[in-house]
């Protein structure tokens, strides 16, 4: 149906789609959880915040799981190398994410104030830590990871956990937090009743929106003037076998901006990143909740797409070995697997989107402190 090159390109786009799907849906759950102790002061307020995402966070989290599994199926090299290379960071994310479902479900099972306060902070960790670590991980992907492959294509790592944290990667981490907190506060503004929580969500949203703009600009400057970026040396065979040893890559200052010269249309992504955040700020100030949410969504799409497009065709460059970098053309599954998985995705994803939309429709409307107090089904 499609040739190998096209299939790889489609799966690169789908990889981005799944990451964006995760950021747009579970992203606001992470943002809301990170805001929980700050936007809600009383127990009733906090329960209202939790129940603003209660019925839907579970489905949203599946974007994360499916993202991981889709990387496994379509980009096995990326799955194998990134998750083992960022081993302790991944553990941190998993540990934080494990706290989240448990926190939602168990927090309100007991009336004890200390119990509830402990779970509130657990939920904060479950939102803040993954948001931060995802950003730090993206920063490391942009900077290149210290791995090399032997002739059996077994991966070895030279890095350490603390080595993951550099000024640039921390900046990426903070940008990720700001982006998701903005998205979370935009969601809260839609979902909770007007009152103190709503006001605080708008206040934090404003701060996060401004921070997003500043950090995204700072990241752009880093990429333009720092020692970041790679390029491929020599010929590329987009239909060749998935074997990174056949590609040669090298560090190239400003290499991540080269694509914008070659394909000016790609500038849409950073423009969306900045413009979306600006729209969100505008929406928050004017009290237009739909504009705020549309803006925060557009901003997340733009920022993630910027990372992907800047790096194309790289997916995970190696910082220590010129014959190990993973690209769209050397790290995928076989054409057969990509084809089968494309068919499965084309059939199933629209169904998923349809019933997800229905679920949101059923739970449509603002959560109130009144409802939280009376409905026995609420968290």
């Amino acid at each position: 149906m499609f040739d190998y090159e096209t299939l790889r390109l489609i799966w690169w786009v789908l990889l981005g789609t799944l990451l964006i799907g995760f950021a747009l849906t579970d992203g606001f759950d992470l943002g809301v959880a990170a805001l929980l102790p700050f936007v809600g002061r009383t127990d009733a307020e906090r329960r209202m915040v939790i129940n603003a995402i209660g019925p839907t966070w579970e489905g949203n989290q599946v974007w994360f799981i499916v993202g991981g599994a889709a990387i496994f199926a379509a980009w096995p090299f990326v799955y194998a190398i990134s998750f083992s290379g960022f081993y302790l960071a991944m553990f941190l994310v998993l540990a934080a994410l494990i706290l989240r479902p448990v926190g939602f479900k168990y927090r309100s099972k007991r009336c004890d104030a200390a119990w509830r306060s402990r779970w509130d902070w657990a939920l904060f960790v479950g939102g803040f830590v993954p948001a931060l670590v995802f950003g730090v991980a993206v920063g490391n992907v942009l900077s290149g990871a210290p791995f090399r492959l032997d002739s059996d294509l077994r991966a070895f790592f030279d890095g350490s956990f603390l080595g993951l944290f550099t000024p640039f990667t921390l900046l990426c981490g903070l940008l990720s937090v700001a982006m998701l907190v903005l998205h979370g506060s935009a969601w809260l503004a839609i979902k909770v009743e007007h009152g103190p929580v709503h006001d605080r969500a708008r206040k934090f949203g404003t701060i996060a929106g401004l921070a997003s703009l500043a950090l995204f600009a700072a990241g752009w400057a880093f990429v333009a003037y720092g020692d970041i970026g790679y390029r491929i040396v020599g010929a590329i065979d987009p239909s060749g076998p998935s074997n990174p040893l056949r590609t040669t890559s090298e560090l190239a200052r400003g290499g991540w901006l080269a694509n914008y010269g070659l394909y000016p249309w790609m500038m849409i992504a950073p423009v969306l990143g900045f413009g979306g955040a600006a729209l969100a700020l505008f929406g928050i100030r004017r009290g237009s909740e739909s504009a705020a949410f549309a803006g925060s969504s557009a901003s997340a799409v733009g920022i993630i797409a910027t990372v992907g497009l800047s790096m194309f065709p790289f997916i995970l460059p190696s910082s220590i070995d010129s014959h190990s970098s993973l690209t769209v053309w050397n790290a995928s599954s076989s054409a057969k697997t990509l084809g089968i998985m494309l068919f499965v995705t084309v059939v199933l994803l629209p169904i998923v989107l349809a019933y997800t939309a229905w679920a949101y429709k059923v739970m449509f409307g603002r959560v109130t402190t009144q409802e939280v107090a009376t409905n026995p089904d609420f968290y």
């Binding site: 579970e58 599994a69 199926a73 379509a74 494990i98 499965v344 679920a359």
Partner: protein, 523 residues
């Protein structure tokens, strides 16, 4: 290869997988029972069934959450801890996992939110459909993960590609309709149904013994008795045996379970009891039932059940053949157009994995002498006493479950279940048993597959990530601490929920402490 790293990686996988599977079977079974209970509510329109559904729904919720939370670890652990495995078989193994996510996890997770939160917002029928979707999603997820696991036991439909140094899919249909995966699916979900039935039966029995919430308890018990009987028959009768003749490793599993050191004349006897002696490679104090094993395993009177020594000899041949394939791969790495080496590889590629077994003892398998090959062949024997005893305990519990639910079914049919106190006590005591059987079942499947991560393809000791002992200890201690804490909290919450009972505002419409009028005793 740092074998310490391998052992720690295996320890972590075993701990997190066995822990994850404490919650999964209950989710599998209870989701189906909720469908049954809610369907009765929708059909009869009697409010007591709404109370029943909502109560078991609360137990489901507490349990479900930990299944999801610990499942996150499982989804990423192949990448974090089994990086070479992920590279080597990701082309095949990743697909069922991704399909599981798209087809099952989204369904389950999206509708579970509506199931908990939608009671007031959905019509009765609408809510029932939502509950059905949760059950469907949960069971579909079991199907796909067992397609993945079944492929590890019987890696059909895939071939090694020397250009990419990994297995690649050649026939996806064979992966999907892998008979071992199908047998495993039926066996595993049935075990889940039994587990949930035992929980519902046991908790109901506890209430009946205390004379509390009897209206809920006796009805719940009726559902559990019927569902549990069907499940326990299915788990034993349609059990795991159907795949034991398919591959060398499956034959080895069967031989190890039976501690059959040598091929016996057909039809083989079933060893009921014995003391497997690994050093002498014989089983002492054997008690055998003639013919039975041959009948079950081969469905015939004239086919043999191969013994371990004979399977080891076969492994020795396959290692020798595999070394030729390994040598050809090394040449093809340098020159992929070498026709002669390509032909050698094609002739011996199905034994390539066996050559990799030698890497445990020698860096380059081509350097192995015949003595080393003969010694290495014994690596294909798993831990015999562990297999032998795990199977016997598991099977005993399986048969006990049939007896338990058979009795429950008779008693509930005669409406005697609220009064037969010895049985109610037995039902409470039986609560932990399905978990023991289920965890032993997984140990049989996974320890029985050793030394392979993928049967005949990739040995476990080559499959792990290049990590250090230090980081592995960090995460093992970290997971143990988190999981341990959560386990304590979960058990407490479930006990509190049982104590609080099915009525949300503490009003039991039938608080009658006295005996329940048992309608049909005299009938």
């Amino acid at each position: 290869m740092d074998l310490g790293v391998i052992d720690l990686s295996r320890l972590q996988f075993a701990l997190t997988a066995l822990y994850h599977f404490l919650f999964v079977p209950l989710t599998l079974g209870l989701s189906m029972m909720l469908v049954i209970m809610e369907a009765v509510y929708v059909i009869t329109n009697r409010p007591i069934w709404r109370v029943i559904t909502r109560f078991w729904g609360r137990i489901f919720a507490i349990n479900f959450v930990l299944g999801v939370a610990t499942g996150l670890t499982m989804e990423f652990q192949f990448g974090t801890n089994w990086s070479y495995f992920s590279h080597y078989v990701g082309d095949i193994f990743g697909a069922p996992l991704a399909i599981e996510g798209l087809m099952a996890f989204f369904l389950e997770a999206t509708f579970v939110g509506l199931m908990f939160f939608g009671w007031e917002r959905l019509s009765k029928l609408g809510h029932l459909i939502v509950t059905c979707m949760v059950a469907l999603g949960t069971n579909l997820s079991a199907l796909w993960i067992l397609v993945a696991n079944g492929w590890m036991q019987n890696p059909t439909g895939a071939e090694f590609n020397t250009d990419t140094m990994r297995m690649e899919v050649s026939d996806f249909g064979a992966v999907l309709f892998n008979p071992i995966a199908q047998a495993k699916f039926v066996h595993t979900v049935s075990a889940g149904y039994v587990c949930a039935s035992v929980v519902v039966l046991g908790i109901s029995a506890f209430w009946l013994l205390k004379g509390r919430y009897t209206a809920v308890a006796r009805r719940s018990m009726t559902v559990a008795a019927a569902f549990g009987l069907a499940g326990s028959l299915s788990v034993v009768v349609l059990g795991d045996e159907s795949g034991y003749a398919l591959t060398d490793n499956q034959k080895m599993k069967l031989a190890a379970i039976e501690a059959a050191w040598h091929t016996a004349p057909a039809p083989a006897g079933l060893t009921l009891f014995g003391m497997p002696d690994v050093a002498l490679r014989e089983t002492r104090y054997e008690v055998q039932v003639p013919w039975v094993l041959g009948l079950i395993a081969t469905r015939s009177l004239d086919k043999e059940v191969t013994g371990m020594s004979e399977l080891v000899l076969k492994a020795q041949e396959r290692i020798t053949s595999g070394v030729i394939a390994y040598d050809a791969v090394q040449h093809l790495k340098i020159d992929r157009t070498d026709v002669a080496q390509r032909a050698r590889f094609e002739a011996h590629k199905r034994d390539l994995g066996y050559a990799l077994l030698l890497k445990r003892h020698v860096a380059d398998p081509r350097m192995a002498n015949p003595q080393l090959i003969a010694a290495t062949a014994w690596d294909v024997v798993p831990n015999v006493p562990l297999m032998f005893w795990s199977f016997r305990i598991m099977a005993f519990i399986g048969f006990f479950m049939i007896a338990l639910f058979g009795t429950a079914f008779v008693l509930t049919s005669l409406r005697m279940h609220t009064e037969t106190r010895w049985f109610l006590k037995l039902a409470v005591i039986a609560i932990p048993l399905p978990w023991i059987a289920i965890e032993l079942g997984w140990m049989l499947a996974e320890i029985g597959r050793q030394p392979w991560a993928i049967e005949g393809v990739l040995p476990t000791f080559l499959a792990a990530s290049s990590l250090t002992r230090g980081v592995l200890w960090t995460t093992i201690i970290g997971f143990t601490a988190i999981y341990g804490t959560l386990a304590v909290i979960e058990v407490r919450l479930i006990l509190a929920t049982i104590r609080k009972g099915p009525f949300e505002h503490d009003e039991d419409p039938q608080p009658a402490p006295g005996p329940i009028p048992a309608a049909a005793i005299t009938a």
